[in-house]
Protein backbone atom coordinates (compact mmCIF):
# COMPACT_ATOMS: atom_id res chain seq x y z
CA UNK A 1 0.00 0.00 0.00
CA UNK A 2 1.49 3.32 -1.00
CA UNK A 3 -0.20 5.36 1.68
CA UNK A 4 2.34 6.40 4.31
CA UNK A 5 1.68 4.16 7.32
CA UNK A 6 1.27 5.47 10.83
CA UNK A 7 4.79 5.54 12.25
CA UNK A 8 5.63 3.24 15.12
CA UNK A 9 7.86 6.03 16.35
CA UNK A 10 11.02 4.25 15.26
CA UNK A 11 12.80 6.05 12.44
CA UNK A 12 16.03 4.44 11.40
CA UNK A 13 18.35 6.67 9.46
CA UNK A 14 21.78 8.12 8.93
CA UNK A 15 23.51 11.22 10.22
CA UNK A 16 26.20 12.42 7.86
CA UNK A 17 28.88 14.76 9.13
CA UNK A 18 29.94 17.05 6.26
CA UNK A 19 32.73 18.40 8.45
CA UNK A 20 34.41 15.02 8.64
CA UNK A 21 33.74 13.47 5.22
CA UNK A 22 36.88 13.46 3.11
CA UNK A 23 35.16 12.31 -0.08
CA UNK A 24 37.00 8.99 -0.34
CA UNK A 25 33.97 7.09 -1.78
CA UNK A 26 34.54 4.13 0.59
CA UNK A 27 30.84 4.26 1.53
CA UNK A 28 29.67 4.17 -2.09
CA UNK A 29 31.84 1.23 -3.09
CA UNK A 30 31.03 -0.85 -0.02
CA UNK A 31 27.34 -0.04 -0.53
CA UNK A 32 27.62 -1.32 -4.06
CA UNK A 33 29.41 -4.45 -2.90
CA UNK A 34 26.89 -5.34 -0.19
CA UNK A 35 23.77 -4.44 -2.12
CA UNK A 36 24.65 -6.09 -5.39
CA UNK A 37 24.00 -9.27 -3.42
CA UNK A 38 21.24 -7.86 -1.21
CA UNK A 39 17.52 -7.03 -1.15
CA UNK A 40 17.48 -5.27 -4.56
CA UNK A 41 20.24 -7.34 -6.16
CA UNK A 42 21.90 -7.01 -8.57
CA UNK A 43 23.06 -3.40 -8.95
CA UNK A 44 23.57 -3.78 -12.66
CA UNK A 45 26.41 -2.05 -14.49
CA UNK A 46 26.39 -1.61 -18.22
CA UNK A 47 29.64 -1.42 -20.16
CA UNK A 48 31.63 -1.61 -16.90
CA UNK A 49 35.05 -1.91 -18.54
CA UNK A 50 34.24 -0.03 -21.73
CA UNK A 51 34.08 3.54 -22.94
CA UNK A 52 30.81 4.46 -21.27
CA UNK A 53 30.46 2.69 -17.94
CA UNK A 54 27.26 3.42 -16.05
CA UNK A 55 25.12 1.58 -13.55
CA UNK A 56 22.95 1.53 -10.47
CA UNK A 57 24.36 2.96 -7.24
CA UNK A 58 22.49 3.73 -4.04
CA UNK A 59 24.97 6.22 -2.71
CA UNK A 60 26.95 8.91 -4.54
CA UNK A 61 29.51 11.40 -3.28
CA UNK A 62 29.49 14.83 -4.90
CA UNK A 63 32.14 17.44 -4.19
CA UNK A 64 31.24 21.12 -4.04
CA UNK A 65 33.15 24.32 -3.53
CA UNK A 66 31.13 26.75 -1.49
CA UNK A 67 32.09 30.40 -1.43
CA UNK A 68 30.55 32.50 1.33
CA UNK A 69 29.49 36.12 0.75
CA UNK A 70 32.73 37.26 2.49
CA UNK A 71 34.76 35.48 -0.21
CA UNK A 72 36.06 32.61 1.92
CA UNK A 73 35.59 29.23 0.32
CA UNK A 74 35.38 25.67 1.55
CA UNK A 75 35.19 22.25 -0.02
CA UNK A 76 32.22 20.09 0.89
CA UNK A 77 32.25 16.39 0.18
CA UNK A 78 28.63 15.47 -0.02
CA UNK A 79 27.46 11.84 0.18
CA UNK A 80 23.85 11.44 -0.94
CA UNK A 81 21.53 8.45 -0.65
CA UNK A 82 17.85 7.93 0.13
CA UNK A 83 16.83 9.97 3.18
CA UNK A 84 13.93 7.61 4.08
CA UNK A 85 11.58 10.58 4.24
CA UNK A 86 8.63 10.67 6.64
CA UNK A 87 6.45 12.24 3.95
CA UNK A 88 7.97 10.36 1.04
CA UNK A 89 6.43 11.54 -2.26
CA UNK A 90 8.12 8.62 -4.04
CA UNK A 91 5.89 6.26 -2.08
CA UNK A 92 2.55 8.01 -2.53
CA UNK A 93 2.94 8.45 -6.32
CA UNK A 94 3.61 4.75 -6.90
CA UNK A 95 0.62 3.29 -8.78
CA UNK A 96 1.31 -0.33 -7.91
CA UNK A 97 2.15 -0.39 -4.22
CA UNK A 98 5.67 -1.57 -5.06
CA UNK A 99 7.13 1.44 -3.22
CA UNK A 100 6.34 1.40 0.46
CA UNK A 101 7.43 2.76 3.80
CA UNK A 102 7.69 0.32 6.67
CA UNK A 103 5.66 1.22 9.75
CA UNK A 104 8.03 -0.61 12.10
CA UNK A 105 11.22 1.33 11.32
CA UNK A 106 10.42 3.88 8.59
CA UNK A 107 12.63 2.29 5.94
CA UNK A 108 11.47 3.03 2.37
CA UNK A 109 11.75 0.06 0.02
CA UNK A 110 10.77 -1.05 -3.47
CA UNK A 111 9.28 -4.50 -4.02
CA UNK A 112 11.23 -5.79 -7.02
CA UNK A 113 8.52 -8.32 -7.86
CA UNK A 114 5.66 -5.85 -8.28
CA UNK A 115 7.39 -2.71 -9.62
CA UNK A 116 6.30 -2.04 -13.21
CA UNK A 117 9.21 0.29 -13.92
CA UNK A 118 7.12 3.39 -14.65
CA UNK A 119 9.86 5.57 -13.09
CA UNK A 120 7.36 8.01 -11.60
CA UNK A 121 8.84 7.60 -8.10
CA UNK A 122 12.25 8.72 -9.37
CA UNK A 123 10.59 11.85 -10.78
CA UNK A 124 8.84 12.49 -7.46
CA UNK A 125 11.99 12.24 -5.32
CA UNK A 126 13.51 15.73 -5.24
CA UNK A 127 16.91 14.36 -4.16
CA UNK A 128 17.60 11.93 -6.98
CA UNK A 129 17.84 8.99 -4.61
CA UNK A 130 16.28 6.37 -6.88
CA UNK A 131 18.00 4.76 -9.82
CA UNK A 132 16.26 2.71 -12.47
CA UNK A 133 17.81 -0.57 -13.53
CA UNK A 134 17.09 -0.78 -17.25
CA UNK A 135 18.35 -4.36 -17.39
CA UNK A 136 15.91 -5.56 -14.72
CA UNK A 137 13.21 -3.04 -15.67
CA UNK A 138 12.60 -2.04 -12.05
CA UNK A 139 13.42 0.82 -9.70
CA UNK A 140 16.17 0.44 -7.12
CA UNK A 141 17.19 2.48 -4.13
CA UNK A 142 18.98 2.47 -0.77
CA UNK A 143 17.51 -0.18 1.54
CA UNK A 144 19.37 1.09 4.60
CA UNK A 145 20.89 -2.40 4.38
CA UNK A 146 17.70 -3.91 5.75
CA UNK A 147 19.32 -7.30 5.14
CA UNK A 148 22.36 -6.40 7.24
CA UNK A 149 21.14 -4.32 10.17
CA UNK A 150 18.84 -7.08 11.48
CA UNK A 151 21.11 -9.97 10.49
CA UNK A 152 21.76 -12.05 13.58
CA UNK A 153 24.45 -14.06 11.81
CA UNK A 154 26.61 -10.97 11.90
CA UNK A 155 28.44 -9.76 14.99
CA UNK A 156 26.59 -6.96 16.76
CA UNK A 157 28.97 -4.19 15.65
CA UNK A 158 28.42 -5.16 12.00
CA UNK A 159 24.66 -4.69 12.17
CA UNK A 160 24.80 -1.22 10.66
CA UNK A 161 24.51 -0.20 7.01
CA UNK A 162 27.52 -1.09 4.85
CA UNK A 163 28.36 2.59 4.28
CA UNK A 164 28.60 3.15 8.03
CA UNK A 165 30.85 0.09 8.48
CA UNK A 166 33.12 1.27 5.69
CA UNK A 167 33.56 4.96 6.46
CA UNK A 168 37.19 5.34 7.58
CA UNK A 169 36.64 8.75 9.19
CA UNK A 170 33.48 8.10 11.16
CA UNK A 171 31.50 10.65 9.18
CA UNK A 172 28.43 8.42 9.10
CA UNK A 173 26.31 7.44 12.09
CA UNK A 174 23.33 5.13 12.13
CA UNK A 175 20.52 4.93 14.63
CA UNK A 176 16.93 5.69 15.60
CA UNK A 177 16.17 9.31 14.85
CA UNK A 178 12.66 8.88 16.20
CA UNK A 179 14.08 8.36 19.69
CA UNK A 180 15.09 11.73 21.14
CA UNK A 181 17.53 10.10 23.56
CA UNK A 182 19.43 8.06 20.98
CA UNK A 183 23.07 8.85 20.26
CA UNK A 184 22.24 10.01 16.74
CA UNK A 185 19.46 12.34 17.92
CA UNK A 186 21.81 13.87 20.48
CA UNK A 187 24.46 14.31 17.81
CA UNK A 188 21.98 16.12 15.57
CA UNK A 189 20.88 18.27 18.48
CA UNK A 190 24.40 19.25 19.56
CA UNK A 191 25.77 19.93 16.08
CA UNK A 192 22.76 21.68 14.55
CA UNK A 193 21.90 18.88 12.11
CA UNK A 194 19.66 19.96 9.24
CA UNK A 195 17.29 18.65 6.57
CA UNK A 196 18.11 18.84 2.87
CA UNK A 197 15.65 21.01 0.91
CA UNK A 198 13.07 21.37 3.72
CA UNK A 199 10.91 23.40 1.30
CA UNK A 200 10.20 20.19 -0.61
CA UNK A 201 8.19 19.08 2.45
CA UNK A 202 9.45 15.50 2.43
CA UNK A 203 10.49 15.53 6.13
CA UNK A 204 13.65 13.50 5.53
CA UNK A 205 14.77 11.24 8.39
CA UNK A 206 18.47 11.37 7.48
CA UNK A 207 20.20 14.45 8.80
CA UNK A 208 23.35 16.30 7.76
CA UNK A 209 25.77 18.02 10.11
CA UNK A 210 27.21 21.33 8.90
CA UNK A 211 30.86 22.24 8.52
CA UNK A 212 32.30 23.56 11.75
CA UNK A 213 33.18 27.23 11.74
CA UNK A 214 36.70 27.88 10.47
CA UNK A 215 38.85 28.84 13.44
CA UNK A 216 41.52 31.37 12.55
CA UNK A 217 44.01 31.73 15.45
CA UNK A 218 44.07 35.26 16.82
CA UNK A 219 47.87 35.50 16.38
CA UNK A 220 47.74 34.09 12.87
CA UNK A 221 49.62 37.05 11.38
CA UNK A 222 52.56 36.81 13.79
CA UNK A 223 52.92 33.05 13.46
CA UNK A 224 53.20 33.24 9.69
CA UNK A 225 56.21 31.49 8.25
CA UNK A 226 59.35 33.51 8.32
CA UNK A 227 63.05 32.60 8.47
CA UNK A 228 64.09 31.45 11.90
CA UNK A 229 67.75 32.31 11.35
CA UNK A 230 69.63 35.56 11.17
CA UNK A 231 73.03 36.98 10.48
CA UNK A 232 75.49 34.94 8.43
CA UNK A 233 73.20 31.93 8.24
CA UNK A 234 70.42 34.12 6.88
CA UNK A 235 72.71 35.58 4.21
CA UNK A 236 73.88 32.09 3.29
CA UNK A 237 70.29 30.81 2.96
CA UNK A 238 69.37 33.81 0.81
CA UNK A 239 72.34 33.07 -1.44
CA UNK A 240 71.30 29.42 -1.76
CA UNK A 241 67.71 30.46 -2.51
CA UNK A 242 68.84 32.82 -5.23
CA UNK A 243 71.25 30.43 -6.89
CA UNK A 244 68.61 27.69 -6.95
CA UNK A 245 66.01 29.82 -8.71
Amino acid sequence: MTAIPKSSGKKLGLVIDLDICVGCHACTTSCKEWNTGGYSAPLTDTDPYGENPTGVWFNRVHTFEVTAPDGSSQTINFPKSCLHCDDAPCVTVCPTGASFKRAEDGIVLVNQDTCIGCKLCSWACPYGAREYDSTDGVMKKCTLCVDKIYNEDLPEHSRVPACVSACPTGARSFGDLGDRDSAVSKLVESRGGFDLMPEQQCSPVNKYLPLRKKVVPANAATTALRPKVSGVADALLKWIDKSLC
Partner: protein, 315 residues
Protein backbone atom coordinates in the same frame (compact mmCIF):
# COMPACT_ATOMS: atom_id res chain seq x y z
CA UNK B 1 13.08 16.29 -18.10
CA UNK B 2 14.02 14.04 -20.95
CA UNK B 3 11.11 13.98 -23.42
CA UNK B 4 10.18 10.32 -24.00
CA UNK B 5 8.35 9.89 -27.28
CA UNK B 6 5.95 7.24 -25.98
CA UNK B 7 4.65 9.58 -23.27
CA UNK B 8 4.42 12.56 -25.64
CA UNK B 9 2.49 10.47 -28.14
CA UNK B 10 0.27 9.11 -25.37
CA UNK B 11 -0.81 12.50 -23.99
CA UNK B 12 -1.32 13.93 -27.50
CA UNK B 13 -3.31 11.00 -28.90
CA UNK B 14 -5.37 10.22 -25.83
CA UNK B 15 -5.96 13.94 -25.16
CA UNK B 16 -7.44 14.37 -28.64
CA UNK B 17 -9.33 11.08 -28.27
CA UNK B 18 -10.91 12.05 -24.94
CA UNK B 19 -11.67 15.52 -26.30
CA UNK B 20 -13.51 14.07 -29.30
CA UNK B 21 -15.22 11.35 -27.27
CA UNK B 22 -16.38 13.85 -24.66
CA UNK B 23 -17.76 16.17 -27.34
CA UNK B 24 -19.68 13.31 -28.97
CA UNK B 25 -21.12 12.34 -25.59
CA UNK B 26 -22.04 15.92 -24.73
CA UNK B 27 -23.39 16.47 -28.24
CA UNK B 28 -25.68 13.47 -27.88
CA UNK B 29 -26.85 14.45 -24.42
CA UNK B 30 -27.51 18.09 -25.21
CA UNK B 31 -28.43 17.31 -28.85
CA UNK B 32 -26.12 19.80 -30.46
CA UNK B 33 -24.79 17.27 -32.96
CA UNK B 34 -26.60 15.98 -36.04
CA UNK B 35 -28.22 12.59 -35.38
CA UNK B 36 -26.21 11.04 -38.21
CA UNK B 37 -25.50 7.42 -37.36
CA UNK B 38 -22.49 6.94 -39.65
CA UNK B 39 -20.90 10.18 -38.50
CA UNK B 40 -21.30 9.33 -34.82
CA UNK B 41 -20.00 5.79 -35.25
CA UNK B 42 -17.00 6.86 -37.35
CA UNK B 43 -16.10 9.63 -34.92
CA UNK B 44 -16.52 7.60 -31.74
CA UNK B 45 -14.55 4.66 -33.13
CA UNK B 46 -11.77 7.09 -34.12
CA UNK B 47 -11.79 8.53 -30.60
CA UNK B 48 -11.56 5.06 -29.04
CA UNK B 49 -8.69 4.14 -31.38
CA UNK B 50 -6.78 7.29 -30.44
CA UNK B 51 -7.30 6.61 -26.74
CA UNK B 52 -6.37 2.95 -26.99
CA UNK B 53 -3.30 3.67 -29.12
CA UNK B 54 -2.19 6.29 -26.61
CA UNK B 55 -2.70 4.01 -23.62
CA UNK B 56 -0.83 1.17 -25.31
CA UNK B 57 2.07 3.44 -26.21
CA UNK B 58 2.26 4.62 -22.59
CA UNK B 59 2.87 1.02 -21.52
CA UNK B 60 5.83 0.76 -23.92
CA UNK B 61 8.06 2.79 -21.64
CA UNK B 62 7.37 0.52 -18.66
CA UNK B 63 10.10 -1.84 -17.53
CA UNK B 64 7.48 -4.55 -16.97
CA UNK B 65 4.43 -3.97 -19.21
CA UNK B 66 3.06 -7.41 -18.23
CA UNK B 67 2.62 -6.14 -14.67
CA UNK B 68 0.73 -3.02 -15.81
CA UNK B 69 -2.53 -4.32 -14.30
CA UNK B 70 -1.08 -3.67 -10.86
CA UNK B 71 -1.19 0.04 -11.56
CA UNK B 72 -4.92 0.32 -10.86
CA UNK B 73 -4.51 -0.66 -7.23
CA UNK B 74 -3.23 2.52 -5.55
CA UNK B 75 -5.89 5.05 -6.55
CA UNK B 76 -6.12 6.29 -2.96
CA UNK B 77 -2.78 8.11 -3.20
CA UNK B 78 -1.42 7.91 -6.74
CA UNK B 79 -2.59 10.10 -9.63
CA UNK B 80 -1.06 7.64 -12.08
CA UNK B 81 -3.19 4.91 -10.59
CA UNK B 82 -6.28 7.16 -10.69
CA UNK B 83 -5.58 7.81 -14.35
CA UNK B 84 -5.37 4.08 -14.98
CA UNK B 85 -8.65 3.46 -13.20
CA UNK B 86 -10.56 6.30 -14.84
CA UNK B 87 -9.25 5.50 -18.32
CA UNK B 88 -10.44 1.91 -17.92
CA UNK B 89 -13.78 2.90 -16.42
CA UNK B 90 -14.36 5.34 -19.31
CA UNK B 91 -14.41 2.36 -21.68
CA UNK B 92 -17.68 1.16 -20.12
CA UNK B 93 -19.96 4.09 -21.06
CA UNK B 94 -17.89 4.82 -24.19
CA UNK B 95 -18.37 1.30 -25.52
CA UNK B 96 -22.04 1.38 -24.58
CA UNK B 97 -22.35 4.75 -26.30
CA UNK B 98 -20.81 3.47 -29.54
CA UNK B 99 -22.82 0.24 -29.29
CA UNK B 100 -26.13 2.08 -28.94
CA UNK B 101 -25.30 4.28 -31.92
CA UNK B 102 -24.62 1.17 -33.97
CA UNK B 103 -27.51 -1.02 -32.90
CA UNK B 104 -30.28 1.05 -31.30
CA UNK B 105 -32.81 3.67 -32.26
CA UNK B 106 -31.35 7.11 -32.67
CA UNK B 107 -33.68 8.57 -30.05
CA UNK B 108 -32.75 5.88 -27.55
CA UNK B 109 -32.32 7.35 -24.08
CA UNK B 110 -29.34 5.04 -23.52
CA UNK B 111 -27.42 7.11 -26.08
CA UNK B 112 -28.01 10.24 -24.04
CA UNK B 113 -27.20 8.65 -20.69
CA UNK B 114 -24.04 6.85 -21.85
CA UNK B 115 -23.08 10.07 -23.64
CA UNK B 116 -23.34 12.00 -20.39
CA UNK B 117 -21.32 9.41 -18.44
CA UNK B 118 -18.70 9.41 -21.21
CA UNK B 119 -18.15 13.15 -21.15
CA UNK B 120 -17.87 13.22 -17.34
CA UNK B 121 -15.33 10.40 -17.30
CA UNK B 122 -13.37 11.83 -20.25
CA UNK B 123 -12.90 15.11 -18.35
CA UNK B 124 -11.87 13.24 -15.21
CA UNK B 125 -9.36 11.11 -17.12
CA UNK B 126 -7.66 14.10 -18.79
CA UNK B 127 -7.56 15.83 -15.41
CA UNK B 128 -5.91 12.82 -13.75
CA UNK B 129 -3.29 12.70 -16.52
CA UNK B 130 -2.44 16.34 -15.90
CA UNK B 131 -2.31 15.81 -12.14
CA UNK B 132 0.37 13.14 -12.51
CA UNK B 133 2.63 16.01 -13.55
CA UNK B 134 1.07 18.80 -11.51
CA UNK B 135 1.44 16.85 -8.26
CA UNK B 136 5.25 16.63 -8.47
CA UNK B 137 6.72 19.32 -6.22
CA UNK B 138 10.21 18.39 -7.42
CA UNK B 139 9.45 19.88 -10.86
CA UNK B 140 8.52 23.55 -10.63
CA UNK B 141 7.40 23.85 -14.26
CA UNK B 142 4.77 21.15 -13.65
CA UNK B 143 3.74 21.80 -10.08
CA UNK B 144 1.26 24.60 -10.84
CA UNK B 145 -2.38 25.20 -11.72
CA UNK B 146 -1.68 26.05 -15.36
CA UNK B 147 -0.82 22.44 -16.11
CA UNK B 148 -4.29 20.88 -15.58
CA UNK B 149 -5.89 23.90 -17.24
CA UNK B 150 -3.64 23.53 -20.31
CA UNK B 151 -4.23 19.81 -20.55
CA UNK B 152 -8.03 20.16 -20.31
CA UNK B 153 -8.22 23.06 -22.78
CA UNK B 154 -5.90 21.40 -25.28
CA UNK B 155 -7.84 18.12 -25.13
CA UNK B 156 -11.03 20.09 -25.79
CA UNK B 157 -9.40 22.13 -28.58
CA UNK B 158 -7.98 19.09 -30.39
CA UNK B 159 -11.30 17.30 -29.93
CA UNK B 160 -13.07 20.25 -31.54
CA UNK B 161 -10.65 20.33 -34.47
CA UNK B 162 -11.28 16.63 -35.07
CA UNK B 163 -15.03 17.02 -34.68
CA UNK B 164 -15.06 19.89 -37.18
CA UNK B 165 -13.24 17.71 -39.68
CA UNK B 166 -15.78 14.90 -39.20
CA UNK B 167 -18.70 17.31 -39.61
CA UNK B 168 -17.14 18.71 -42.78
CA UNK B 169 -16.54 15.22 -44.19
CA UNK B 170 -20.18 14.32 -43.57
CA UNK B 171 -21.34 17.63 -45.04
CA UNK B 172 -23.03 18.60 -41.78
CA UNK B 173 -23.48 22.16 -40.65
CA UNK B 174 -20.36 23.26 -38.78
CA UNK B 175 -20.80 26.99 -38.27
CA UNK B 176 -21.70 26.92 -34.56
CA UNK B 177 -19.00 24.42 -33.60
CA UNK B 178 -16.39 26.17 -35.73
CA UNK B 179 -16.94 29.38 -33.82
CA UNK B 180 -16.72 27.48 -30.54
CA UNK B 181 -13.50 25.79 -31.70
CA UNK B 182 -11.88 29.11 -32.60
CA UNK B 183 -12.88 30.53 -29.22
CA UNK B 184 -11.48 27.49 -27.36
CA UNK B 185 -8.24 27.67 -29.37
CA UNK B 186 -7.98 31.34 -28.38
CA UNK B 187 -8.59 30.47 -24.74
CA UNK B 188 -6.04 27.65 -24.73
CA UNK B 189 -3.47 29.91 -26.39
CA UNK B 190 -3.94 32.46 -23.60
CA UNK B 191 -3.56 29.78 -20.95
CA UNK B 192 -0.42 28.42 -22.65
CA UNK B 193 1.10 31.90 -22.89
CA UNK B 194 0.35 32.49 -19.21
CA UNK B 195 1.98 29.13 -18.42
CA UNK B 196 5.12 30.11 -20.32
CA UNK B 197 5.19 33.47 -18.57
CA UNK B 198 4.88 31.67 -15.24
CA UNK B 199 7.79 29.30 -15.86
CA UNK B 200 9.94 32.11 -17.26
CA UNK B 201 9.36 34.44 -14.34
CA UNK B 202 9.64 32.00 -11.43
CA UNK B 203 11.73 29.06 -10.33
CA UNK B 204 11.68 26.34 -7.71
CA UNK B 205 11.92 27.42 -4.08
CA UNK B 206 14.79 24.93 -3.85
CA UNK B 207 18.25 26.18 -4.76
CA UNK B 208 21.71 24.69 -4.96
CA UNK B 209 22.25 26.17 -1.48
CA UNK B 210 19.20 24.44 0.06
CA UNK B 211 20.11 21.23 -1.78
CA UNK B 212 23.29 20.85 0.27
CA UNK B 213 22.29 23.02 3.20
CA UNK B 214 24.68 25.93 2.92
CA UNK B 215 23.79 29.47 3.82
CA UNK B 216 21.78 31.29 1.17
CA UNK B 217 23.96 33.86 -0.54
CA UNK B 218 26.87 31.45 -0.86
CA UNK B 219 27.84 30.35 -4.32
CA UNK B 220 27.95 26.61 -4.85
CA UNK B 221 30.08 25.04 -7.54
CA UNK B 222 30.22 21.33 -8.35
CA UNK B 223 33.93 20.57 -8.50
CA UNK B 224 33.69 16.80 -8.79
CA UNK B 225 30.81 14.77 -10.13
CA UNK B 226 30.30 11.45 -8.32
CA UNK B 227 30.68 9.59 -11.59
CA UNK B 228 32.49 10.04 -14.87
CA UNK B 229 29.63 9.08 -17.21
CA UNK B 230 26.03 10.31 -17.22
CA UNK B 231 23.93 8.12 -14.94
CA UNK B 232 20.19 7.34 -14.99
CA UNK B 233 19.36 10.51 -13.06
CA UNK B 234 21.07 12.74 -15.60
CA UNK B 235 19.77 10.87 -18.62
CA UNK B 236 16.20 10.93 -17.34
CA UNK B 237 15.95 14.21 -15.47
CA UNK B 238 18.72 16.60 -16.40
CA UNK B 239 17.80 17.68 -19.91
CA UNK B 240 19.17 21.00 -21.02
CA UNK B 241 17.61 22.96 -23.84
CA UNK B 242 19.10 26.25 -24.99
CA UNK B 243 16.82 29.23 -24.37
CA UNK B 244 17.09 30.39 -27.97
CA UNK B 245 16.14 26.96 -29.26
CA UNK B 246 13.17 26.76 -26.89
CA UNK B 247 11.93 30.21 -27.96
CA UNK B 248 11.94 29.14 -31.58
CA UNK B 249 10.04 25.95 -30.82
CA UNK B 250 7.51 27.90 -28.74
CA UNK B 251 6.83 30.13 -31.74
CA UNK B 252 6.39 27.12 -34.03
CA UNK B 253 4.11 25.41 -31.47
CA UNK B 254 2.03 28.59 -31.11
CA UNK B 255 1.61 28.92 -34.87
CA UNK B 256 0.83 25.28 -35.54
CA UNK B 257 -1.32 24.50 -32.53
CA UNK B 258 -3.35 27.67 -32.26
CA UNK B 259 -2.92 30.27 -34.99
CA UNK B 260 -2.96 28.26 -38.24
CA UNK B 261 -5.80 25.92 -37.15
CA UNK B 262 -7.85 28.98 -36.11
CA UNK B 263 -7.29 30.62 -39.50
CA UNK B 264 -8.14 27.38 -41.31
CA UNK B 265 -11.31 26.95 -39.27
CA UNK B 266 -12.27 30.59 -39.81
CA UNK B 267 -11.80 30.07 -43.57
CA UNK B 268 -14.40 27.28 -43.49
CA UNK B 269 -16.97 29.85 -42.41
CA UNK B 270 -16.58 31.76 -45.64
CA UNK B 271 -15.73 29.11 -48.22
CA UNK B 272 -17.63 26.73 -50.44
CA UNK B 273 -18.05 23.15 -49.37
CA UNK B 274 -14.97 21.73 -51.16
CA UNK B 275 -12.57 24.25 -49.69
CA UNK B 276 -14.40 23.90 -46.42
CA UNK B 277 -13.56 20.18 -46.26
CA UNK B 278 -9.95 20.84 -47.27
CA UNK B 279 -9.43 23.51 -44.59
CA UNK B 280 -11.12 21.52 -41.81
CA UNK B 281 -9.06 18.46 -42.77
CA UNK B 282 -5.75 20.32 -42.97
CA UNK B 283 -6.28 21.74 -39.48
CA UNK B 284 -5.94 18.22 -38.03
CA UNK B 285 -2.34 17.37 -39.02
CA UNK B 286 -1.15 20.94 -38.46
CA UNK B 287 -2.54 21.04 -34.93
CA UNK B 288 -1.23 17.54 -34.22
CA UNK B 289 2.33 18.51 -35.10
CA UNK B 290 1.89 21.70 -33.07
CA UNK B 291 0.77 19.78 -29.99
CA UNK B 292 3.58 17.23 -30.34
CA UNK B 293 6.05 20.15 -30.24
CA UNK B 294 4.16 21.74 -27.33
CA UNK B 295 4.33 18.46 -25.37
CA UNK B 296 8.00 17.98 -26.22
CA UNK B 297 8.66 21.44 -24.77
CA UNK B 298 6.55 20.63 -21.70
CA UNK B 299 9.15 17.99 -20.87
CA UNK B 300 12.28 19.61 -22.25
CA UNK B 301 11.73 22.91 -20.41
CA UNK B 302 10.88 21.27 -17.08
CA UNK B 303 13.80 21.28 -14.68
CA UNK B 304 14.06 18.76 -11.84
CA UNK B 305 15.62 19.63 -8.47
CA UNK B 306 18.13 16.78 -8.85
CA UNK B 307 19.95 19.00 -11.37
CA UNK B 308 20.97 21.14 -8.38
CA UNK B 309 23.32 18.31 -7.36
CA UNK B 310 24.88 18.33 -10.83
CA UNK B 311 25.88 21.95 -11.14
CA UNK B 312 22.57 23.70 -11.93
CA UNK B 313 22.20 27.05 -10.20
CA UNK B 314 18.40 26.91 -9.98
CA UNK B 315 15.60 24.48 -10.74
Amino acid sequence: MNPAFSVIFFTTASGAGYGLLGLLGAGSFFSFLPADRTLMIAASVTALLLITGGLLSSTFHLGHPERAWRAVSQWRTSWLSREGVSSLVTYIPATLFTYTWVFCDIDNSMIRLSGLATVVLAVITVFTTAMIYASLRSIHAWNNKWVPLNYLLLALATGLILLNAFLAWFAADTVGLTIVAIAVLGGSLVSKLLYWRFIDSSSSSSSNASAIGTRPGSTVKLTQSPHSQANYLQQEMVFVIARKHARKLRRIATLMTFVIPSVLLAATLFSNSKLNVACATLAVPVATIGILIERWLFFAEARHTVALYYGAQSA
